[in-house]
Symmetry: C2
Subunit: 107 residues, 2 copies
């Protein structure tokens, strides 16, 4: 339950979960990042207490004819961290769109 650094990736993953994307592969597709980035981020958020995780019942996987998924849900702490995540994303969005005008030197 150490504290989690709110990076761009963790913010994206947290938002994806809050939007209803409940397992790793789905989050990967939603945010467009590879498994080697998403799964470690999910684990950090889990260990940090912002997410809780459990394996779906084998019956569901069997009914859908696919491997079992690991289901993530927002915790209270995770929900409380959402505004901070959105702030981080807004900050990043600004960085990408806005480029400060060139300072005129020695006018």
């Amino acid at each position: 339950m150490g504290d989690v650094r709110m990076t761009q990736v963790t913010a994206l993953v947290l938002r994806a979960i809050s939007a209803g994307h409940r397992y790793g592969f789905d989050v990967m597709e939603a945010v467009g990042l590879p498994s080697g980035t998403v799964y470690p981020a999910l684990r950090r958020l889990d260990k940090g207490g912002l997410l809780s995780a459990h394996w779906e019942p084998a019956s569901e996987a069997h009914a859908d004819r696919r491997p079992r998924r690991r289901i993530y849900e927002l915790t209270g702490v995770g929900r409380a961290a959402l505004p901070q995540a959105e702030a981080k994303l807004a900050e990043a969005r600004e960085r990408l769109s806005a480029l400060a005008p060139i300072r005129s030197e020695r006018p």
Copy 2:
């Protein structure tokens, strides 16, 4: 002159230089990233041959009453890499704004 990986940060720095922000501190302000991120990125771009660097003449710094600046310019290779950089930034912008809708399962 090894090849440089086009990351979000290197793309931002490259764009800042192409927009006329010619030294490290200026790039830092333009892109809103700390020195510990920007200076290593500048060095990678320099070593990769996308930028060329030189110290401004001491006379200019003295005239403006400040420490000397290290001036960066786009090389031909750097200019050629700009579209790739913009593509990377567009990709990142999309990731931040768009969140894929939730897949309905077992309809």
